[in-house]
């Protein structure tokens, strides 16, 4: 059974069609890297998986269940979500930010919370002494790492990442990419990963999804994308590498 499945999904905002007859099947443990021009509908795709948006036509299924027909609150708690602009809670310290989802379902008693947070901070390569700081006291890259730790806290099997490494320098970015690959392997995560950087897409994705104007231009392994680009848009995208 597919972890995530889109069946002929169309999404409109008034007149404009943002997604057109979009179909996609993601197997458990797969990493799909989505790339495409700004405004082509990548974030829209992600938000349909955790039912922040609902399709006008077609269906979105997670683990075989239509997301509109399941308990969306529970569904979202089982899906790690790293949003495009990080979105840490400014009024909570790092520890409480990371423990947010478990706290919603009261999963972690306080002593366990400290341990788990320390483990997650180490996982994303941050010092344990960050726990008591506030988001305003972190750099952009550190915030992004906390955002990832927060998404992983409830041990989700599915991870939605919307340009998670946008605000970091090249070196940090590379180490975050490595960490993500290691983590997703270790925890066998299914990942939907949005990026603007074709090299990042090639590195992260077990398959790369090139989108253009709400439609799939090509969905294939990185090698195949490189060797036989489906159309001019994809060719132009990969010609730089």
């Amino acid at each position: 059974m597919a972890a995530i499945e889109f069946r002929g999904v169309t999404k409109r905002y008034g007149e404009s069609v943002v997604l057109r007859d979009f179909s996609l099947s993601v197997e458990p443990g797969e990493r799909i890297a989505m790339i495409g021009r700004s405004g082509c509908g990548k974030t829209t795709v992600l938000k349909m998986v955790n039912a922040l948006l609902s399709p006008d036509e077609g269906q979105v299924l997670v683990n075989g269940e239509n997301v509109l027909q399941t308990n969306q609150i529970l569904l979202r708690r089982q899906i790690g979500y790293v949003i495009q602009n990080v979105g840490l809670f400014p009024h909570l310290n790092i520890e409480k930010n990371i423990a947010y989802v478990p706290s919603l379902s009261r999963a972690w008693p306080k002593p366990q919370r400290q341990q788990e947070v320390a483990r997650l901070l180490a996982l994303v390569g941050l010092e344990g002494n960050m726990a008591k700081r506030y988001p305003s006291e972190l750099s952009g890259g550190q915030k992004q790492r906390v955002g990832i730790a927060r998404a992983l806290a409830a041990q989700p099997k599915i991870l939605l990442m919307d340009e998670p490494f946008g605000a970091v320098d090249e070196i940090t970015r590379r180490s975050l990419q490595e960490e993500l690959l290691r983590l997703s392997g270790e925890l066998s995560l299914t990942v939907l990963f949005v990026t603007h950087d074709i090299r990042e897409a090639m590195k992260i994705g077990s398959r790369v999804l090139v989108m253009d104007a709400g439609e799939i231009s090509q969905l294939a392994s990185p090698e195949e994308i490189l060797q036989s680009p489906a159309n001019a848009f994809v060719r132009e995208l990969v010609c730089g590498i």
Partner: protein, 215 residues
């Protein structure tokens, strides 16, 4: 100099009377502040959750707010008669507006990304309100509360014109008996009381912001 001296003589000679007035003043404005604080907060939260109702509710609050205080007191007399109930009601009506407006703007001004994150991670509507919206709106709400408290204490000085107690009694008596020192003594106490309340709330606000690293 002589005038100031006469004020302090007045305080000294009629300490019990002034303390009584101050007590009543605190009680009247305290009740109004309490009711408007809770109700205003509640209404502000409600209209931020049900945005369609917001323009109407805020419009009504604004209209009430622009009625000159003396005439609002007067308007209530036919319904509530003369005395403390009228005063408390009028003060409460005034105090609503800053609370409702600040709660509403505080909540609606929160960064959308933060709310989206909260929703996307599986918070219920109640959890979003309680754990994210209200804490993030606190400093704007506190600002509203502060100005509301100061205003209520000050406007409370007029309450004596509709037969209610409080420090306005001293002001009123001073006016009717051509005793400027008496009027001044009453006013001074109101100002001092309002200032003190403002300082205390400002202090609370500072502690809260410091704790949450919101500078």
């Amino acid at each position: 100099m002589e005038f100031i001296g006469s004020i302090f003589t007045l305080y000294w000679e009629r300490a019990d009377w002034f303390l009584g007035l101050l007590g009543t003043h605190m009680l009247l404005s305290g009740i109004a502040i309490g009711i408007a604080g809770v109700a205003g907060l509640g209404i502000g939260v409600l209209i931020s959750e049900f945005r369609k109702a917001a323009p109407v509710v805020i419009g009504i609050c604004n209209v009430c707010y622009t009625i000159p205080s003396i005439s609002l007191f007067g308007l209530l007399i036919p319904f509530l008669g003369i005395g403390n109930p009228t005063a408390v009601t009028a003060l409460t009506i005034y105090a609503m507006m800053p609370m409702v407006r600040n709660t509403y703007t505080g909540i609606t001004g929160i960064d959308r990304d933060i709310l989206e994150a909260a929703r996307g991670m599986g918070s219920t509507r109640w959890q979003i309100l309680w754990r994210v919206k209200l804490p993030l709106a606190v400093s704007v709400i506190l600002t509203g509360l502060r100005s509301m408290v100061v205003m209520t204490i000050a406007v409370g000085g007029i309450a004596s014109f509709v037969g209610a107690g409080g420090l306005g009694v001293a002001i009123y008596r001073g006016i009717t008996m051509y005793d400027p020192a008496m009027t001044f003594a009453g006013s001074l106490l109101i100002a001092a009381f309002a200032l003190l309340a403002d300082l205390l709330l400002g202090f609370a606000e500072k502690i809260y912001k410091k704790k949450r690293r919101m500078f």
